[in-house]
Symmetry: C2
Subunit: 255 residues, 2 copies
DNA sequence: CGACGGGTTGACTGGATTCAAGCCACGTGG
DNA sequence: CCACGTGGCTTGAATCCAGTCAACCCGTCG
């Protein structure tokens, strides 16, 4: 299947860059699990993590059925997870952007439930899961931050399930774009120019659409004046996005 | 809105049955968070929980926007969570059966993201969240069990999202029935007679279908010889369900 | 150059929705 | 007791949105 193996794409992914972690590729300090910890706690945390990269587009971070040992925090770049459907097609399960925590769907199991594949040049921060658990006894705040992440993910997944179940293709797409807008605004400030790191067919798959339907939907949204397809990977929002209170986005003006 | 207020359905739900918890309504010891803990740890755990019930069908356990303070483990009965869609309809977010942990989608937030409503006579075990967190420092095993639950839920949500996105109505329905089969087999042993605690319209909503489509799908499955509608609330599986390795169910013979 | 894959567009099909009517079990009140 | 109303569920006919199949465009790469 597909190409792989950039600088870091081998399956046992043991390519360690530096022994002392300076998080130099990290563009997401504020989104780090360790953010807000005391000096001592942070260095303890840094003691267990390993910076890994660069992964090139198409490289795998882990594969389905690999032993679950680590979580991965995304320092820069972006990653998709995907798995195979009953009829043998690939289905994109999720996109992970800067600051997101990858691999938490493996918690409680022995192996990862899907493949994780870089969508562009990507640096991650590997967090060995057992070591992380060991830190919790001495660091209740870190523990709580972590559990909050899990809760947030559960909430987000349920919510996106709701969107998929109830909304039309157009609204699903706009919903995704708005989410991307707010995510992007969080670390780079608000811009109406949205950079799409993923291919359109991956995005279609994630939204439960065929590539054809997705393409049509985009052109339709453009005709209606909601977006503009600036380039292959860039979409411009032409109207101010609705605010995202508690992650929920209300779309009113689109059918 | 709908009726409410059975014996325990008032919004502040402070109806405490006993001060010393004997878990006497619990049909799910093996599924309890505290299962496998030592004697001392269990009694510490029992010290923070409160048994609540009985809730009658239609009673609310908590409402959207209520302050998040507790999780609820289901001792007996069943609960649905639901919320309102963009166009003002109710959408069922999830079903919670014996042993399931309710309210975890509120973790990390201030309020519950949806309403929780009993679907039949139901007893729950209220677990004050902060107290639970406090136990973790002294009980790493309990902590781990809890975190494993969260991970399992994330995994399950992602997986059911995959089913909703990729599968036809028929397969979605069969998928749900098989899941119910395995869930039921877990505590009551395997039976092909499935008891549906929820109304068909709730089930339809949960599966992303209209009540009409859902009804048609059932009759279609019956004609094809996969199921039999025994009664209002009971469906019989006519073929041996596929096994559920790691929660994933492979449906092969249905279009 | 030609092959290839990602993406777009068109014509057609089909599965699920919509709108409408009817059925059935249940509770209520005369 | 029955008449009646109600809500959950089912069935039918028409509609529509997204899927399917096919052709085509275009940039990339061998």
């Amino acid at each position: 299947m597909s190409r792989s193996n950039g600088s870091c794409g081998n399956s046992n992914h043991l390519h360690l860059i530096k022994s002392e972690q300076d998080c130099k590729h990290c563009q997401s300090e504020k989104l780090c699990l360790a953010f807000g910890l005391g000096q001592e706690a942070v260095s303890e945390f840094k003691g267990i993590i390993k910076e890994r990269g660069p992964y090139a587009a198409g490289d795998t971070i882990y594969r389905q059925q690999d032993q679950f040992r680590s979580l991965y925090s995304i320092q820069s770049g972006s990653i998709k997870t995907e798995t195979v459907t009953a009829d043998g097609r690939q289905s994109v399960m999720g996109f992970y952007l800067i600051g997101d925590l990858l691999g938490i769907d493996a918690i409680g199991g022995k192996t990862y439930p899907n493949d994780a594949i870089a969508m562009e040049t990507t640096w991650v921060c590997e967090i060995p899961y057992k070591s992380l658990l060991n830190l919790f006894s001495g660091q209740p705040y870190l523990q709580q931050q972590f559990i909050n992440r899990l809760g947030g993910k559960i909430h987000a997944d349920e919510y996106s399930g709701k969107v998929i179940r109830n909304e039309s293709a157009t609204r699903r797409v706009m919903h995704f774009l708005y989410q991307l807008y707010w995510h992007q605004a969080r670390d780079k400030g608000p811009t109406s120019r949205l950079h799409l790191p993923m291919s359109k067919q991956d995005l279609a798959s994630f939204l439960g659409l065929t590539p054809e339907s997705f393409s049509r939907t985009l052109t339709q949204l453009q005709k209606q004046g909601h977006i503009e397809k600036e380039s292959h990977k860039v979409i411009v929002l032409l109207k101010t996005p609705p605010s995202a209170e508690s992650g929920h986005i209300e779309i009113l003006d689109i059918k």
